[in-house]
Symmetry: C2
Subunit: 684 residues, 2 copies
Amino acid sequence: MTDHNNNDPLVIFMPSGRRGRVSPGTLVLDAARQLGVEIESICGGRLTCNKCRVRLEEGHFAKHAITSTPDHLSSPSAEEVRLLERLDSLDCRLSCNAQIVGDALIFVPEESRAHKQVVRKDATMRVIDLFPAVRQVFVEVDQAELGEHRGDWGRLQEALAAKWELHDLIIDLPVLRELQATLRQGKWAVTVTLWQDREVIDVQPGYAEGVYGLAVDIGSTTIAGFLCDLRTGEILATESMMNPQVTYGEDLMSRVSFAMMHNDGLDKMHTAVIEALNRLAASTAREAGIRQRHIQEAVFVGNTTMIHILLGISPVELGGAPFALANRDSMDVKARELGLRLHRSANVHVLPAEAGHVGADNVAALIAEVPYTLDEVTLLVDVGTNAEIVLGNREWMYSASSPTGPAFEGAQIRFGMRAAPGAIERVRIDPETKVARFRVIGEEAWSDEWQIGPQFAAEAQPKHLAAGICGSGIIEVVAEMFLAGILLPDGRFNPDLDHERITWDDRRGQYMLATAEQSTTGSPILVTQDDVRSIQLAKAALYAGIKLLMNQAELTQVDRIVLAGAFGSYIDPKYAMILGLIPDCELTKVTAVGNAAGDGARIALLNRHKRTEAQRIAEWVTYVETAVHPDFQQEFVGAIHIPHASDAFPHLDGLLPEPVGQRDEVGNGRGERRRRRTRKPQTP
Amino acid sequence: MTDHNNNDPLVIFMPSGRRGRVSPGTLVLDAARQLGVEIESICGGRLTCNKCRVRLEEGHFAKHAITSTPDHLSSPSAEEVRLLERLDSLDCRLSCNAQIVGDALIFVPEESRAHKQVVRKDATMRVIDLFPAVRQVFVEVDQAELGEHRGDWGRLQEALAAKWELHDLIIDLPVLRELQATLRQGKWAVTVTLWQDREVIDVQPGYAEGVYGLAVDIGSTTIAGFLCDLRTGEILATESMMNPQVTYGEDLMSRVSFAMMHNDGLDKMHTAVIEALNRLAASTAREAGIRQRHIQEAVFVGNTTMIHILLGISPVELGGAPFALANRDSMDVKARELGLRLHRSANVHVLPAEAGHVGADNVAALIAEVPYTLDEVTLLVDVGTNAEIVLGNREWMYSASSPTGPAFEGAQIRFGMRAAPGAIERVRIDPETKVARFRVIGEEAWSDEWQIGPQFAAEAQPKHLAAGICGSGIIEVVAEMFLAGILLPDGRFNPDLDHERITWDDRRGQYMLATAEQSTTGSPILVTQDDVRSIQLAKAALYAGIKLLMNQAELTQVDRIVLAGAFGSYIDPKYAMILGLIPDCELTKVTAVGNAAGDGARIALLNRHKRTEAQRIAEWVTYVETAVHPDFQQEFVGAIHIPHASDAFPHLDGLLPEPVGQRDEVGNGRGERRRRRTRKPQTP
């Protein structure tokens, strides 16, 4: 940087406070760059993009900057005045046109700052620094002339180097194919779309604006996508759909088996997910009012099996020890190489994985939740068909996965269903009457307030009756059945309980959650002994995984618990703890953050530096192979029971009822023994 | 590099003479690397590739190195001895296994040197340093293990870095897709094929060998391809075929028009050339006994229009001033992106162009002929449908193009044909009898020795009668017609000549070159006044271009002339000079080098450093736009006549006959005037 003497104007930029002297006549935009203040600009001084407005904040001159800035800034041109008038911004100047002529205090409004921040519209309301991999610049190119032979691409490169300091660029062949026509159509002025400031992926005639990206979390069961405006970070459309691969197997292992057993298994699953993603791109684009071919980048996350299949790589090695990944690192691939119909030169970024069973979705959740920046020890649990578990803080971090199976998602449950209208999501059982009241998705009123039957007017009747039970409903009903004494701690139906809601089918109990009248089918909705067993197995697998990580870290307690995933967002932490899905923790420190993997995908889409961070974190986390850990079986068996107040769960004290029924008599297994040994007096 | 004391062994490598001290125990291969001597090695010490044999040349030990090397090299293992025995190389050692234990004088035989030289089997017999962009290395990879999560690609990268010092590699997606299966099939030992030491384009199980490349010169009329073994530089197959685009226009301008006039014009021509290249790849592969999918790289050259169409870029801008190229620089593209069926990850390299009308074919001819390394001034002329002309030496170089049209290739000539069996290629006309004798391609005997007719035995008859006239034949017949006095210097048939071989069609003469009996069709083969005019226009265009470059360089004489191109190979320099295609020059300094563009393509295929050189030269040459030059028309008109001994062509003195007929009377135009003005006495 040039040395400046004390006669040179002093410029201070607010709110950053950066200051320094610049040569008289320096453009405000250039002064900002010199002082490390980033001001947004696409057109680079052509008075087109209007992104670089700043306010001169110098005493009484503030209000009408353009008429009274000669001592600080050069006088505006007639065109600048016209433009500012049109923008209703007469108190502003365009920093690409205003020159610094004297000392100046300049305020850069939020909307003019490059790399703006976006507030995530979710529970945690975090902010994302906007720094997308795709950006646009406007540039004027030397016209082709006789006696000059650089070629159109050569001349465009020179213009980009001179105007935007972009060097060593490459151009994607489809763009080169249309470059000559575009340059002439734009009369040698074009808007260039760059990826990673490295590759030209589009050239449009004249001044153009609009960069869009798609962030997608590919779950085994659900695919969730977010179409974002890369200039503002705004989510223009969201969409979630079933992963069509479920046809080939509900959980990961069955998909791997399908690939192993069928020659065209991988092909079929790859094609299925690509077609789904094309539909997702089309529908989100439609919703956002843009064309599918305007989506210039996509970021994908998912578990390792999903990502392998997405890339057309066989997942077979992930199906057995040592669970070797084909590739652990992040990757960039042309969308068209995968058969994705986005912008013809769009790139696809896939976040890295941690290990064979902890994939890009978990890494995405990490960069969204950043537990690696905290002093507190966080337990992050993302429950899907597989559960990913991360435990740690800024100094260390362990990760693991647990094969919970699809029970938490409503599969393997007799009346289980996806979280859709009519699904029972909340349940309360009266400990005295043993009768349940519940709430279904899409209906405000609890079932005991429903006005059903011919005696009520049609419009008073609930729009949705009960159609089944979704994941969070299953957790609540099993926990409530335990609290009401219907279930014993080992999960069996209390055989001594004689109640009209409980029936027996070959000595296996079943509980009527919703009556025939309350159900869409006209038949009651039941919770069976098998349903309870499925939930017990799933939660034991999850808890055993968590327990192993805690043992590894020599911890008996965590500071906070973050529940991620759609499932995690809907379950009540209290019930999760009663059932023993998660370890003991202060209930106020248990938060549900929704689709953290999807958020992380979106963050990586909006901020390319986060991709570097993701790669670093993915390598840094220590993966613990729980499934083959010698203690896993023991922890698993010990977690089968439904816990209640004990030394393992002090934070549940007072939330649980007095022991009911013949619990002591039927208690067996390790969990029960521990419970008996450690029982403490109950608070009233 | 480590410092060595005088106790360390001194090693001298021959024939390079490089010398230095190395630590005792250093492998010969490593010592060579340390001292900058490159020894071939694929397997890197696995005793598989046998490429790194060296001889110990230390006094009396030379003959049986392996039994008597303890003072210089470590003793060979039993396996090494077995191997050397099998290779009948008991006087050698494998440098990847022999350790240096004392002073040693080591000879590296030609076949063990990395970057070998290949002698070009053509007129000039140049050597090519072998340094292909594609090479193979054998590597052993850590096995995937529980508790280790680098991924297979990560582990392969680490192995390549450790063993071969290859860093920052990328892997093409199709290779990654099969990496896991390949590693396991090869029991964690694989052969990796690298492109530019940057991209992994193939991984094969175990030890494998074989890298092939295709070099192609895409001419407007003819496509010529060379399939090479990239390990030896050997040409395994050559093939030439018609460019199927001729259906859409014979010369460049008509192709450009076709692209301009038809919406699918570019598509059709692009598809046509791609399909032709696929056929070329298939047939050369078949001839070489390899699979088409084993061709791992291709280098393409051609004029700018051909290269634009090859890449799917519209050539329309090349059809009019300012003749702007879409891209002048060299490019690398995946073969599959162009629809080429080579190795699935093969890359295609396209050499750079100089300007809109001087393309990669000319640059290829330059790197093959290297006139930019000489003190002498070279005129390089490549005659095709367009003629490219380069003039210069190591200090300066001009290039230009001249629109000669396809006459030299036999088009626009009534009995013109391609250089195929039956084409008349050599002609002599008796100045007295005016009767021609000729030779056709495929027939040794001249036509006056042919035994035709029922009086001769069938086996004595020529296999090929005359089917037409090819390019070199046209040059000779027109020149001979002039020498025999049939043509006047202005190109008209001598109207005063009454001869049975000359007939008149509406006052336009025609000359019977071959009789009905000598012709395949049973009708005579004629040379018409229009044919002569076509040749005159073509040669005037060519000569005018050359003249402009000479004017630019302020030269009246060149030191040497190189005729490139298939056409240039067959014409007799004397006739070219008599007709006035080329300027005056000592006839011994006029050489025909055949398909120099094809040679250059092959050189770029075999040596990647030559690609860098090509890019540098392409930018360095000064292109002169002849077609719009103010003097072009004048030079063109001045070159229409058929010159003979004059001050412009002193080297023809004595080769030409006395002026015949009424030349002085009919002489007109500038050339004629100059001839008259400058006539010198003829030597006998």
